[in-house]
């Protein structure tokens, strides 16, 4: 790994831009996924990888050749791939007698494996098998998780986090409402996880919000959880840590109360009370005679020298 660790000084502007894209930033790039076939991947597993690649384009890389590795034993080869292609998510498919139709989904932190979960494919319906129109490439999908086990079980919680990370797509500030076409629905029941993809049809309803009709499209998988390799708690906490620069700047002197009222605080200078504007009472006004008498008493007499 010495070649990869050595600092490469860029000689062209293009190389410099390439390196800048890969270095750690405050606001990170969208995570790329690499889809790898194991040494003994069969047709089902290859089809699954191809379909997921179609869903995740252009933020995915599909490796054509088979790679003989075992991710649960040795992670160096995966880390090497991740470093080379700058991908932090991976999906590794393999097949053997003990673990048929195996899919390992995982993510990296700083080019080292963070979490890995092995899932077995029980049933798979491909994009090609369902003959209808598909939604355009690169649509941001809506993600729905159903089932209380996604919150109760620690491994399922990590799986949920992994799946969101995997299928999320780029973070956008605004979205076209008519373009919400794709939805991925995960149901966890009875130790199985059903993943279904639907195309969303917006129908007229009585009011502004449209009525939803779903049409099955896309890959549908029946998964069962096998082994897991989860990161330890403090490593996971370290990876969740956000830099201070990302925290939204707190506006000072503004507070909200329970009812939603916004309070503001204004800081004033010290008031000169003698110049205070009050009600004028004409009767209490100082008469010129009294004024001069007061002045004469207090002010020193100016001596006139001839």
């Amino acid at each position: 790994m010495d070649a990869l660790d050595r600092v490469v000084k860029p000689k062209t502007k293009r190389a410099k831009r390439f390196l800048e894209k890969r270095e750690p930033k405050l606001n990170e790039n969208t995570k790329n996924a690499m889809l790898i076939k194991g040494g003994n991947a069969n047709l089902t597993v290859s089809e699954v990888l191809k379909d997921i690649y179609a869903v995740k384009k252009p933020f995915a890389v599909l490796y054509k050749r088979k790679n003989v590795t075992r991710p649960f034993e040795d992670q160096t080869s995966l880390e090497f791939f991740s470093k080379k292609s700058d991908c932090s998510l991976f999906l590794f498919g393999s097949h053997n007698k003990k673990r048929p139709n195996n899919l390992i989904i995982g993510r990296m932190f700083d080019y080292h494996v963070l979490d890995m979960i092995e899932l077995g494919i029980e049933k798979f319906v491909s994009l090609k098998d369902i003959k209808n129109s598909k939604c355009p490439e690169g649509t941001k999908p809506m993600l729905i998780f159903a089932g209380d086990v996604f919150d109760v079980n620690e491994e399922y919680r990590r799986l949920k986090s992994l799946l969101i990370d995997f299928f999320r797509g780029p973070t956008v500030p605004s979205i076209r409402l008519a373009g919400l076409e794709y939805v991925l629905h995960f149901t966890a029941v009875d130790g199985k996880i059903y993943m279904r993809s639907y195309k969303v049809l917006l129908k007229k309803s009585g009011c502004k919000i449209p009525r939803i009709e779903l049409e099955e499209m896309g890959p549908s998988l029946d998964l069962v959880m096998r082994r897991t390799h989860l990161a330890s708690d403090d490593l996971y906490k370290l990876s969740l840590k956000q830099p201070k620069g990302l925290k939204p700047k707190k506006k000072k002197n503004i507070s909200h109360d329970v009812f939603g009222t916004t309070y503001g605080r204004i800081h004033m200078q010290k008031q000169d009370l003698s110049k205070l504007q009050t009600r004028k009472m004409k009767g209490l006004k100082k008469r010129p005679a009294e004024k001069s008498a007061e002045d004469g008493g207090t002010a020193p007499k100016k001596s006139k020298s001839a």
């Binding site: 750690p24 405050l26 990170e28 790039n29 995570k31 932090s88 990296m108 932190f109 700083d110 080019y111 080292h112 963070l114 941001k140 809506m142 729905i144 998780f145 159903a146 089932g147 209380d148 996604f150 949920k160 986090s161 969101i164 990370d165 999320r168 500030p173 605004s174 979205i175 076209r176 409402l177 919400l180 939805v183 629905h185 149901t187 966890a188 029941v189 009875d190 059903y194 279904r196 639907y198 969303v200 309803s205 009011c207 502004k208 919000i209 449209p210 009525r211 939803i212 779903l214 099955e216 330890s232 403090d234 490593l235 996971y236 370290l238 990876s239 969740l240 840590k241 956000q242 830099p243």
Partner: protein
């Protein structure tokens, strides 16, 4: 009449059906949790396990109905967001999404700020602040605004200067133009050297080998684990003196300084050892032939060579192979034999072998 009543009932039933088909209301026991920034909805209701157990189209239909309900709720929420028409009146309806709320781990650790350069440190110490300079300067000769530096700068191209004054106290025979060119080259070289030094310092500070993580990662080798185990043992209240040892760990506690400190013999100890030591010393001092400690001599020689090589290579970059590579490259200069061969050249006084190396 009966026919009219039947028709009325049928019409009412059909209207009810149509109404249900168009309604957007969904009944749920527990409310869903939404993260609109990620277009995410989480349904905590336990799905009907018994119904979903049987395989086949019934399960698909049930899953689809569940998905439809959940999607309807999510889309209702999304359509409630503040929306506007992008690109004028006829453009598409675009909703402003909030920040994603679900915390996901980062791809890479957050960037570390680069350490300040030598100039930046000095400026901070002295309180020097950056002066904002205009990019254009008025050129009196050309009577127009020219750049401060670069192509067609104000004041003309300095390399085409046609006059170079001889400064007071300089050699009259000296070529001033050559001097100016040489000084510019030196300035550029010094600037480049400082820039590279700053870069190296920043890189060294950034990628300093991180302390071994004290939790087991599964990727550690034996030495790292030994180090970590030692740290863990020493972190007890009695500094590890009463900790039970692991089966394969060494018995005696290793010294804290790693064996670097000098050990002195006790004053009133072994009389025989002291006697033999003093007698040997006298014998070496009295003998005519010089006594040499080969190991010490070889080490001293090698260190001298390294120092010379380092002094010679000071300006240039270090070779890729490093010290060991350079040492092995030069023919026949390693090993005790060559070191011992060199000994007759140096007139070492007898008895130096006993003393500590200078």
């Amino acid at each position: 009449m009966a026919a009219v009543r039947v028709e009325a009932v049928l019409a009412a039933a059909e209207e009810q059906e149509a109404e249900k088909r168009r309604s957007i209301a969904v009944e749920k026991e527990l409310e869903l949790e939404y993260d609109l920034g990620n277009l995410l909805a989480v349904d905590r209701n336990p799905p009907p396990a018994a119904a979903l157990r049987g395989a086949g189209p019934r399960r698909e239909a049930l899953l689809r109905a569940l998905a439809r309900d959940n999607t309807q709720l999510l889309v209702s929420r999304l359509w409630e967001l503040p929306a506007e028409r992008a690109g004028g009146a006829g453009g598409p309806l675009v909703a402003q999404l909030p920040e994603p709320a679900f915390r996901l781990p980062r791809e890479k650790p957050p960037p570390k700020p680069r350490p300040p350069t030598r100039w930046e440190q000095f400026a901070r110490l002295k309180g020097i602040r950056r002066k904002k300079k205009t990019s254009l300067v008025w050129d009196e000769q050309a009577k127009e605004w020219r750049r401060r530096w670069g192509y067609r700068r104000a004041g003309g191209d300095p390399s085409r200067a046609w006059l170079a004054e001889v400064p007071a106290g300089a050699d009259p025979e000296e070529d001033q133009f050559a001097r100016l060119r040489r000084e510019k080259r030196e300035r550029v070289a010094r600037n480049e050297l400082n820039r590279l030094r700053n870069l190296a310092r920043a890189h060294r500070a950034g990628s300093a080998v991180p302390a071994a993580p004290l939790h087991p990662t599964g990727h550690q080798d034996r030495d790292e684990l030994r180090r970590v185990a030692r740290v863990a043992r020493v972190s007890t209240a009695s500094l590890g003196r009463f900790q039970p040892r692991l089966p394969k760990e060494s018995a005696e506690p290793p010294s804290r300084s790693g064996g670097k400190k000098r050990r002195f013999e006790p004053l009133l100890g072994n009389l025989a050892a002291e006697r033999s030591r003093q007698l040997d010393l006298l014998r070496d001092m009295g003998s005519k032939k010089p006594v040499l400690d080969i190991t010490r001599a070889v080490n001293k020689q090698l260190r001298q060579e390294e120092a010379e090589a380092a002094a010679a290579n000071k300006g240039k970059k270090q070779s890729k192979r490093g010290k060991r590579g350079r040492r092995q490259q030069r023919p026949g200069r390693s090993g005790k034999k060559s070191g011992a061969r060199r000994q007759p050249q140096q007139q070492k006084p007898a008895g130096t072998g006993r003393r500590k190396k200078a």
